[in-house]
């Protein structure tokens, strides 16, 4: 793992897919971070680390565009994301701490809703569910699944979306050892296919991929 925190905002090349320039986020009166820069090319991972409350989730939410930046901007393919929300949204998928499924609906019904927003065929869904060992659970309401199983459901959504940028907030929380290895495997595959991933996590990653990291205080 090599540590690189870009401070020179001008050092941009055309290979950069995702970059943040001079980012500052306020939470109430408190400044979580300021003057933060990063740049990622395809096939790279950005690991955001820091203690609880240091702004990991806020950083991810502001990259997604869910949270307003005080200063700075995020660029995707060289275009500031706030100028072209629609095409950025098609390229990004957000895996939050709250999985974002309706507890009263079954996993399949939840995923079917996703396919109305982002295209995917049912055969694709089946093979993805098979891989995540969720096939037996698709007819159960989400509320009867364990937290780890719901998390696997959120992974299924990421795979169905076919998005290039994965934003993952604590993807390992609630997952068992098998799930942990699965996430690592999925990320490695995604990056190998020239995808790009931004992840907030507590622990270090045992992953041999091009990686940048940001340490928040």
């Amino acid at each position: 793992m090599h540590l690189s925190l870009y401070t020179d905002a001008d050092a941009k090349t055309l290979t950069e897919l995702l970059s943040g320039t001079n980012l500052c986020v306020l939470r109430g009166e408190r400044c979580l971070f300021k003057g933060l820069n990063f740049a990622l090319s395809s096939g790279e991972l950005l690991l955001v680390q820091g203690p609880n409350g240091s702004g990991k989730t806020s950083l991810l939410r502001s990259i997604a565009g869910l949270f307003g930046l005080e200063t700075g901007y995020i660029s995707w393919r060289g275009v500031p994301t706030k100028n072209d929300r629609q095409s950025f949204s098609a390229d990004v998928v957000w895996m939050a701490h709250h999985v974002g499924f309706k507890a009263d609906l079954t996993l399949l019904e939840n995923l079917r809703f996703e396919t109305g927003l982002r295209s995917a065929t049912l055969e694709e869904i089946e093979s993805i569910l098979e891989r995540l060992s969720l096939s037996q659970l698709v007819e159960l309401p989400m509320r009867s699944l364990s937290a780890g199983q719901q998390k696997r459901g959120a992974l299924a959504r990421m795979l169905i979306s076919d998005a290039r940028l994965w934003l993952m907030d604590e993807p390992f929380a609630n997952l068992d050892v098998g799930g942990h290895d699965l996430v690592i495997e999925l990320i490695a595959e995604h990056l190998a296919e020239n995808g790009i991933c931004v992840m907030a996590a507590h622990q270090d990653l045992e992953l041999e991929v091009p990686m940048h990291s940001i340490q928040l205080q």
């Binding site: 629609q86 095409s87 109305g116």
Partner: protein, 232 residues
């Protein structure tokens, strides 16, 4: 370059899927749907009992009471419009979806009307009977209620979106929405009274239809903007 293709289904597909999801949720939780309907039916059937059996008096107060009950029943159901989506994180997913947010907000309002407004319109002839309203005015009552509840579902979604992150947003929601709902109430109740008296009703219906169109074109955009602010 890579295998990533952002295949976004058509707008109609996105609209359909959010309507279907919300109808499915309502189907699995019928209590939430029936609450406003019970409220509407109870208020408007208790009223004749309290006022007394005089048919003339009831026929005069009927349209007003029915309309106030319908307005309050709709307000009652609006609070939960975006609340569960906010709490379980689906609102993040909706906002981040490649479909335009105003379209999805429109879909939410459509399904809200289907489960809360439409049942009121359907039971209103029964309630009208308890007020011994003339048969000629029942059609007008249903038409005005249909146009009015559509407007209220749409306008109310703006308030629901603005107050979704707040504790006890319910009172604030009512305060925000009531001024916008006043024209609907005034024209709706008055048009039904005119119909009962045998007068011309076209003007009132035209106004309600125009108001409904206005809400239909602006409310989804305002709701989308409000959702982005509330979800920060």
């Amino acid at each position: 370059m890579t295998g990533f293709e952002a295949k976004v289904p058509g707008l109609w597909h996105g609209l359909k899927s959010i309507i279907r999801r919300d109808l499915l949720l309502a189907w699995k939780r019928p209590g939430d749907v029936l609450n406003p309907l019970f409220f509407f039916a109870m208020v408007s059937t208790l009223f004749p009992l309290a006022v007394g059996p005089s048919a003339e008096q009831l026929a005069v107060s009927g349209p007003g009471v029915l309309w106030v009950a319908a307005l309050l029943a709709t307000l009652l159901s609006l609070n939960s419009l975006y609340l569960s989506d906010f709490e379980d994180g689906s609102l993040d997913q909706i906002i981040l979806s490649p479909q335009p947010l105003p379209l999805l907000a429109l879909g939410k309002s459509v399904s809200h009307w289907l489960v809360s407004g439409l049942p009121l319109v359907i039971v209103s002839p029964l309630i009208a009977m308890t007020f011994s309203m003339p048969a000629a005015s029942v059609g007008v009552l249903m038409l005005t209620l249909a146009l009015g509840t559509i407007s209220l579902s749409l306008l109310g979604s703006i308030g629901a979106a603005l107050t979704v992150g707040l504790n006890r947003g319910n009172a604030l929601l009512s305060l925000l929405i009531l001024p916008l709902a006043m024209p609907v109430l005034i024209f709706g109740a008055r048009t039904v009274s005119l119909a009962a008296a045998g007068d011309a009703v076209a003007a009132g219906i035209y106004f309600l239809a125009a108001y409904c169109m206005l809400a239909l074109s602006f409310a989804p955009l305002a709701t989308a903007a409000a959702l982005k602010i509330s979800n920060e």
